[in-house]
Amino acid sequence: MDLSLTTRQEGTHTVVVVGGEIDVYTAPKLREQLIDLVSAGSYHLVVDMEGVEFLDSTGLGVLVGGLKRVRAHEGSLHLVCTQERILKIFRITGLTKVFPIHSSVEEALAARD
């Protein structure tokens, strides 16, 4: 399954809903989306990963790149994920210390940056 991306505005935050596979082939699309959002002045992002079926290190790299970009504007990037096999990837690579990970979009939006 390919990557699907939709965005919506929630107050001061932009929610990016990602579905499908984020891998070496599809990750560039996600990277472009994040770059476009930051270029357009969206510095507070919530990436909803509940529909993600596969994530590899290229995808992790894109998320880290997004985090670096929003931080450059004193923004934030929160993740929403409850899938154990995806969470495991963040744990193995130590990235749970880098990304705030929430169990719902509501929780992510309520979090103080």
């Binding site: 891998d23 070496v24 082939y25 590899d56 290190s57 992790l60 880290v64 670096k68 970009r69 880098v98």
Partner: protein, 200 residues
């Protein structure tokens, strides 16, 4: 003898194909579902790395994948045709570096960063250009592999070129009595299943 061998052109789109084949072959081999997920991800990482290496140093060369299903193990060997040890960025003592340190993020554990090997610190992709085409430092894929695989060996290719990443999963016990022929084994399995049902 590998169960399945695959050669593919060094294009990112084929990594998914390799991943699907590894998933199908490991499932067919009876590997438990959790391990199938690990195999899928680790094979994807190893192939994505091999594709990058070949594209940089030998774009015409094919990436080679060999999957071997043995009674107690499932082994995947991924070989590239780059310079030996290309994109292998081990941390101190040959261990793998932590991602937050690799990614040079604010708030990352400085103790970990201080312990980094110089190879990691000078690896490409770390110098802060977020638009660089290489979206992550080379150690991250291997760090992930290390976390997913029961045994990993990274070595130089047999002809002196390229890098070979060998990944082995321990997939459990062989049949209790290997002298049983398959019909007898099936009958035994049915009997066990029957007694389990009766107990339930």
């Amino acid at each position: 003898m590998p169960t399945v061998e695959l050669h593919f052109a060094a294009l990112p789109g084929h990594v998914r194909t390799a991943r699907m084949i590894a998933t199908a072959v490991s499932r067919r081999a009876g590997v438990p579902a959790g391990a199938v997920d690990e195999i899928k991800l680790a094979v994807g990482e190893a192939c994505a790395r091999a594709v990058r290496v070949n594209r940089r140093s030998n774009p015409e060369a094919l990436v080679h994948v060999a999957l071997t299903d043995a009674p107690e193990t499932f082994t995947v060997v991924v070989s590239d045709s780059g310079a030996p040890g290309d994109e292998v960025a081990p941390g101190p003592d040959g261990g793998l570096i932590s991602a937050p340190a690799l990614l040079d993020l604010g708030g990352a554990d400085l103790g970990g960063a201080a312990a980094l090997g110089s190879a990691a610190l000078t690896a490409p992709g770390l110098d802060g250009d977020p638009d660089a085409d290489q979206p992550f430092p080379p150690g991250l894929g291997l760090a992930l592999i290390e976390g997913l695989v029961d045994e990993v060996a990274v070595r130089r290719g047999t002809d002196g070129t390229g890098t070979v990443v060998e990944m082995t999963w321990h997939t459990g016990e062989p049949p209790a009595d290997s002298d049983l022929d398959s019909a007898a084994y099936a009958a035994l399995a049915a009997e066990i299943a029957g007694s389990a049902r009766r107990e339930a």
